[in-house]
């Protein structure tokens, strides 16, 4: 059996196993084992991928498998990975694994909770391995819909409102995507011959330019909604704030990356001519996302809102980088996705743990937590420093690469926008340090906090998994960017050499 199919099969089998569990302890044990296997599989996949490449295999996609599904419509189940998808799969495996441990104490309907969570992850894995646009879309929707139940049942605050808002906005996004994909399909053979859904085959032809102009906005905005593209980002703060811990982790950490990945893999890769023409519109929007998200975070007092706005900013940067369409920026975009995925997951996990102890998420009601719960405090500081781009942690590598890539464009428009977007780094530093100061240092504002316990073993486990990964990317970014870089080659070849249309 193809190793990639296992990434969908293992979650499905885990779900089946969970159905037969009797109580919470069994359920979480089965989930942990299932996702542990998934993590090991991801590690094996990375290892296998690297050794294939070292052995000189230069095929664009590795571990391909193809099965015809609906012959008359030429729908296949086609899977395969390149360095980018391998990296995303690794990220997903880590975050889901950490997420299972972060929700160790979910008692209310725990079976249903873990089933929904793992179903969501199977959608995400499926999305990253698919090369067939139909299958990809199928998995995309599978990844989105369990969110409604996860937030609606186990969330907090105005959870029903947030869940509905999030689901409907994302499904509206997928409506746009569907139109885009159908358009791509029916233009996949402009010179005659059978139409097809295969991503790699379509990338070899040029979709007629007038169709590209029509379809690109649909596809890009559709994926962009999930990537928190301004002004369609409003589901994100509400959704994240209401979601339970593990769901916020998974959603901000992985699901939002589906947006960035899709915008890059489908919208830009398949329609580069239109992308060049229309990029300036979206570059402006994403730059707004970046700066606006950062400023939004400053104003918030609720930890989850702060992190949600920070996610809007960071994910905006991913789309921003993707739109720059050169090798360095794209490399940065991928690293930013992974880096942000890890650190936002860490943040949300920590917020959940702190909230579980203090029963408040308002920064102004807390203070001096570093003295009481040092482990969580230190973890928070590490996450914060990664987020504001301190060298040695993943955030620095990502943002640096993105801005260098963006600055390679020599025209005024790109320079100005890049400088504006880069200013968000300063704003990020402001809100991160502000939160660290108010939350961890200073006087203890509430005497009930004096008796808080530090992290339990499962919480430590979850946190350390994420911190180690963040540091690994920060300290040794080269193996990651090598892995991505090789796969970026053919993509960049298709993207470059076309002139940008721009305002100035």
């Amino acid at each position: 059996m193809n190793i990639l199919s296992l990434f969908v099969l293992v979650p499905v089998l885990t779900i089946v196993a969970i159905v037969f569990t009797k109580n919470m302890k069994q359920t979480r044990l089965v989930s942990a084992i299932g996702m542990g296997i998934q993590l090991v599989l991801a590690a094996v996949l990375i290892f296998m991928y690297l050794s294939e490449r070292n052995a000189g295999n230069t095929a664009t996609m590795l571990f391909m498998y193809d099965a015809v599904w609906f012959p008359t419509l030429n729908i296949h189940y086609t899977i395969g990975v390149d360095g980018i998808s391998v990296a995303m799969i690794g990220l997903t495996a880590i975050v889901v694994f950490a997420g299972v441990f972060a929700s160790w104490m979910v008692e209310y309907l725990s079976r249903e909770f873990f089933i929904s969570l793992i179903l969501l992850s199977s959608g995400v894995f499926g999305f990253f391995i698919s090369l067939d646009l139909f299958t990809m879309f199928l998995f995309y929707e599978i990844a989105v819909i369990p969110m409604y139940l996860l937030i609606g049942i186990w969330g907090s605050g105005p959870k029903e409102y947030s869940a509905m808002k999030l689901t409907l906005m994302l499904m509206a996004g997928s409506a746009l995507i569907m139109v885009g994909l159908l358009g791509i399909y029916f233009n996949s053979a402009p010179d005659g011959g059978p139409l097809n859904w295969n991503l790699m085959d379509i990338s070899k032809i040029t979709i007629p330019i007038e169709m590209q102009r029509f379809l690109f906005p649909f596809t890009f905005i559709g994926f962009g909604i999930l990537g928190a593209l301004f002004p369609f980002h409003t589901w994100s703060p509400d959704g994240h704030a209401s979601a339970p811990t593990a769901v916020s982790m998974l959603h901000a950490g992985v699901l939002m990356k589906l947006g960035g990945y899709g915008a890059f893999r489908v919208a830009i890769f398949l329609m580069p001519e239109a992308a060049h023409e229309q990029a300036w519109i979206f570059i402006i929007l994403t730059a707004i996302s970046v700066v606006y998200g950062a400023f939004g975070a400053i104003w918030q007092k609720d930890l989850k809102y702060i992190n949600a706005y920070s996610s809007v900013s960071h994910c905006g940067l991913v789309l921003f980088a993707v739109l720059m369409m050169n090798e360095t920026a794209l490399n940065g975009a991928i690293i930013q996705m992974i880096s942000h995925g890890l650190m936002t997951a860490l943040f949300f996990a920590l917020i959940g743990m702190i909230y579980g102890r203090t029963h408040t998420r308002m920064v102004n009601e807390m203070g001096g937590l570093m003295k009481i719960i040092p482990f969580l405090g230190v973890a928070w500081v590490i996450g914060g420093l990664a987020s504001l781009g301190l060298p040695g942690l993943s955030g620095f590598v990502a943002e640096m690469t993105v801005f260098i890539g963006a600055f390679q464009h020599t025209d005024v428009f790109h320079r100005v926008v890049t400088i504006l977007a880069a200013s968000s780094i300063v704003v990020t530093a402001v809100y991160i340090l502000r939160v660290v100061g108010m939350l961890l240092f200073g006087p203890i504002k509430n005497e009930h906090f004096l008796h808080l316990e530090d992290a339990k073993w499962y919480e430590r486990f979850s946190t350390i998994t994420l911190i180690v990964s963040i540091a690994a990317i920060g300290l040794a970014p080269l193996w990651l960017s090598d892995m991505i870089g090789f796969s970026l080659g053919p993509i960049v070849q298709k993207l470059t050499g076309l002139p940008f249309a721009s305002l100035f």
């Binding site: 499904m171 509206a172 029509f214």
Partner: protein
Amino acid sequence: MSIYDFLTMRHELLLTLIAILVLIIDLNLKPSQKHYIIPIVQVLFLLHVVIGFLPGNEGVMFGGMYRSSALTIIMKNILNVGVLIILFQSVTWLKSPDNREKISEYFILLFSTLIGMYFMISSGDFLMFYLGLEIATIPMAALAAYTHHQTRSAEAGIKLILSSALSSGVLLFGLSFIYGTTGSLYFDQVAEVYSNSSLQILAFIFFFAGMAFKISLVPFHLWTADVYEGAPVNVTSYLSVISKGAASFILIIILFTVFHSIAYLWKDMIYLIAILTMTVGNLFAMRQKNMKRFLAFSSIAQAGFILLGILGGNVTGMTSVIYFVLVYIFSNLGAFGVVSAILAVTGKESMDDYDGLYATNPKLSLLMTLSMFSLAGIPPVAGFFGKFFLFTAAASAGYYWLVLIAVLNATISLYYYLLVVKAMFINKNETPIAYFKSDLPTRIGLLACVLGIFVLGFWSQIYEIISSLSFGIVNF
């Protein structure tokens, strides 16, 4: 014509035989034994379904008035499967004291309408088509008024018969124009000479308006909600699934084979009606609190999606419509099955009564959720594939904006489908519907829906078979 030729009509003949048999058996049953008819009918109909699937004759009879092809056979079989599920789901309701006296009437009326639909689908000329339509419609009104001691049910029957009579009148008027201008009622001959003279266009519009009544397309949908709400739930499910499916089948056959020469005209019309139907159906469905009314409006919206497949105007369109109806039968019957099971045991049919259902009846809630997701078109259940292929058909004809409107409508529909899910899973309720165990037939009926909802999507074979049969029927 030999005896052997009659095998071509095995669906119709066999079902007529069963209906008569039911009548005879019923006459010989004592009043206290009336309910024995239920298992007998189930077995007989099951046999009928199985025989329907056996490879059979294709051919033309009565000088072209009756046509049987692989495509019509599969359409009939699809309807058969749906009816079989309904037979299982309605057992609890039929056994209730109110209905004990008239169980066999239910079956005979049901089978009569089904025979009418068979003839309608197999018709090769407008006369046969009209006969089939009437046979399908008139017993339906009796069915809607089945629990006639309830005012609402009697009212539903009257409303159905009046609006049907009106629509049949309109349709017949159109048919008379067709005969007047072409001199024939045979589909083939009409198709050859049909053009865009104003009288013929008017004839087409009358014909279409009549059909739109049957499928309850906006603006001919006004009877739907009241009838659906008033009629007994097992009749409502029959109306909304089987009746609508059959009418869609014959509509697409006639549009594709008879009126293809004026396709450029009806495409614009259907374009507008599709948008109206989806949008109006959705907007009204959002505000409904009664589950039957809710499903009525949702089924109006679904009919709008079917039009997208018709607009495709090619093999993909034909296939996607038949496939969608098949999927829709299972999804909608799943939803109706749950409503019917709850109604039969507790008498509750308001959405508020479903609050907290998951805590007491998890299996029913899960099935309801599956059906809702399937109706909304969420993967991995079958509804996703059904909708996706309809949209593919419309996109293949270049209707990208229409597809966008449709997909956005699907998103809106997701809102109200999620409201049901929310009621069952999230809303709190002091006095939820207590746990109850449905009887065996109901559970079989529900299980069949679950299987259908899961299997139909992934099992691409079904789509391929329908697709291969659809070749040849499309003339343009």
